[in-house]
Symmetry: C2
Amino acid sequence: MKSVVLPLVLSLVACASPLVAQDRPLPSWNDGAARDAILSFVERVTEKGGAGFVPAEERIAVFDNDGTLWAEQPLYFQLFFALDRVKALAPEHPEWATEEPFASLLKGDVKAALAGGEEAILEIVMATHAGMTTDEFEAVVREWVATARHPETGRPYTEMVYQPMLELLDHLRDHGFRTWIVSGGGIEFMRPWVGEVYGIPPEQVVGSTIKTAFEMRDGVPVIVKLPELDFLDDKDGKPVNIHRYIGRRPIAAFGNSDGDLQMIQWTTAGDGARLGVYVRHTDGEREWAYDRESHIGKLDEGLDEAAAKGWTVVDMAADWATVFPPER
Amino acid sequence: MKSVVLPLVLSLVACASPLVAQDRPLPSWNDGAARDAILSFVERVTEKGGAGFVPAEERIAVFDNDGTLWAEQPLYFQLFFALDRVKALAPEHPEWATEEPFASLLKGDVKAALAGGEEAILEIVMATHAGMTTDEFEAVVREWVATARHPETGRPYTEMVYQPMLELLDHLRDHGFRTWIVSGGGIEFMRPWVGEVYGIPPEQVVGSTIKTAFEMRDGVPVIVKLPELDFLDDKDGKPVNIHRYIGRRPIAAFGNSDGDLQMIQWTTAGDGARLGVYVRHTDGEREWAYDRESHIGKLDEGLDEAAAKGWTVVDMAADWATVFPPER
């Protein structure tokens, strides 16, 4: 009998991993209110017959990316990508030598280049992301992610992700959740690498988009990126895009800035058990400490509303035993 | 031992349904080239170690809805929904008594109302779909789908679906595919019922959209539908939206009209095994016969390209033993 039973047992284990005995869940999270709130929420919505039970197909958790799943200092990482693209593309654009924000960038003065605020950022992103086919753009992103290094830590950007959040993503998926990214970052900038890094497939990534067009080039169909903003997936745009892409209201939402406020409002306003979580950047030693006054990842209004509504606020310094994963 | 083994076996069977012995697959399909092409494609991409093997996560199949999964005659069913909404909303819109296309509609002259072509259709859809919250709209769709009847057959619209295509959806999913709808119809018009009817969850529905806005109403967040077209998911728009929503190129695409041509071009131009299928409406007895000259679901250019490229063309009269499922 043994030879028949063993493969069955192995097969069963393979397709029912939540049943496998586990060590302490969320090992990089210190004991405390934040960890408790997350674990008890997961327990509540998965307890069959319990008052808070939510069927697996409705267990949607949405995560902001910049500052929530990976770091966002001293600049959004996609901006470093765009800056590298400006340098790479400069030979084809002699006019950039005198045109702002490109001129300052090429002189290495990032601060001056970004003085134009969001408009300058958008202009840089358009100029460096548009014109290519989507396949070409994907190849460029893959190459950059494999080779670029964070200016302060020297680590690949994909190692500047938060170990406790990786564990949280796994914990949720082990309990039947589907995990989605809902980011202000570009959807096509994230999709090539989030599978490997977060275990999130491309079709569960929502983000900002520029317009694209379908074209035939020498009889071959391509999709070309156009220099025109399609949708900014930030603030009000997040619940709008959640509705557009997912078509269900999530039951859990994780963010770190005022840009995530509406997403958390929309998520927590639904019926039944809901979880709203803000990750607060309190750790100037291991990461960066910033909130109400920050230019990047400003968390001000959201912090007040979290207190008023009883959302969970993760204190990175106190709640996380580890911040980044070990170097590969 | 028996009491331990039996639950294990049952669990194993439950999570490995593709392995369960089956009757003849696609029972409502007659033997022939179309059925053979579909079955052999599925076999090829799922054969481990085979030259055409495709990992499960890449097994994306996209389906047009109107005319491919359900009927679309004598008018797109969403248009019947919109016409019913015009009647329901007329008391709040006295101006419609004299304004076209509403005036004709309210007099029962659908033909005159739609003489304005696509613009008239869009105006009707905007006027009847916008202004509500997304939750309100969903409730209206559910109510309509539960009560409305097709003007010629008297059946619920959700029974005007093609039995052979339901079997095909199941067959693909049993072989690890994920099935997506990519329709010119409204995404919010489809999502409330496609789960029950096709087994397709809301997050795997792509369609046309009108713009929406996030609002706080008495402290409660809502998403409101605006009277402005966001995206028309037809022709070129289909591959553009596939890229935007799914972020992977499908390996199989099913359509019935020239509006699906670019989706099939985009799908079949990828590397490896690909399947492009046109359902051709050849059965004037059991359904409606139309193609090159039809105002709805025109299939002209697509038919030529299918012949040139060797795509599969399903002849509904010859290939389908049954068209519609039995009445409930």
